[in-house]
Symmetry: C3
Subunit: 160 residues, 3 copies
Amino acid sequence: MENQKEKTTIVLFSGDLDKAIAAYIIANGAAAYDHEVTIFHTFWGLNAMRKDAQVPVKKGLLEKAFGWMMPRGANKLGLSNMNMLGMGPEMIKHVMKKHNALSLPQLIELAQEQGVKLVACTMTMDLLGLQQEELLDGLEYAGVAAYLGDATQAKVNLFI
Amino acid sequence: MENQKEKTTIVLFSGDLDKAIAAYIIANGAAAYDHEVTIFHTFWGLNAMRKDAQVPVKKGLLEKAFGWMMPRGANKLGLSNMNMLGMGPEMIKHVMKKHNALSLPQLIELAQEQGVKLVACTMTMDLLGLQQEELLDGLEYAGVAAYLGDATQAKVNLFI
Amino acid sequence: MENQKEKTTIVLFSGDLDKAIAAYIIANGAAAYDHEVTIFHTFWGLNAMRKDAQVPVKKGLLEKAFGWMMPRGANKLGLSNMNMLGMGPEMIKHVMKKHNALSLPQLIELAQEQGVKLVACTMTMDLLGLQQEELLDGLEYAGVAAYLGDATQAKVNLFI
């Protein structure tokens, strides 16, 4: 027991840029304090895990529609608030750059470097027709059972 | 201590279909792993607990207005994202059916069968003028004190 | 161990009136049960901490724009749902008054009286150009490290 690391889990449900930034700042902070950290990406939170480029995979019509309507990757997310037809995200990115804050893609990279476990929810992938080739490398694929396994051992569990 | 069950609590504040589905999937998962699970429905989260049919109860004008404006039951909820004037929820329901995923009303029924404690926040009911007759059978009625009593004994506490 | 108080933390990320009310009701409830409670205000959650009146401080153009676009104080927040061009918040405030429920500014005051630790996220303040003079008196100023320090000692940790 003494040697066990603190554990922290985050369910990232939201596809909003600002919420994803908050999730990754908390995750990177916890990892820096040597916590074992899991981010479980479900529903719209999976959008932050999509690759920028379109990946040629076979899909049905509805799945193509979801793929087309949802933002492709961490650079394309909108804001939960003051999105203003896309001006809001650019303002936030601008001030973050000005203050030398890490961008969301950089925060995700840092999380991977720090060993944060990034999980893609397989049930959501099925529903929305997202395939592993379309998501970032280095993810784990799991469902709610694996999330609960981590969460019951963690002290800090957030739903974002 | 050895014999105590793990406890999990969820505050369901949101009235969005996708968030309610996420809450009930986590709750049912935890119940399947033999956790004692509480879902505390507050604010818009109460809408998922409303009966489909209109129930004749005496109300003031403002309470009638709230009752009329808020979605009546788990089948009527919108999405947090890509709602698209109601087309989004139908798309989600369609793909869930296609993948044999349980619908929200089915997830709620399963939760009740598994003994998940479904609580309606009495303060919100007072504010919005919702009466017990208008909500599903088998709910408990309580306030923030009861929620905190459960949450302080639980390891996984989420606000959705 | 025996004498230690229960601890509860809330990250208030949202700038929505209804979510801020929920956060402060839970926080005040927990404080009434003698928990040590921290509310960490980040991103739009900082808007609830702004003073009503404009405070003359030196700012760049972009920071002025943020200051002008974001709601100034707990009385100006919108709703997450049914905002209806500002009619929703007035309806909620009206029913809360009618039922003798505390308003958000009163809930914040009560929290301060009960010793709830209200923290303003310094990183967000930097990004949005908010200065201490513009925020309520009696706040603490800290970052994610301090939040994690509190959260790892708490049983109830919510992200709202």
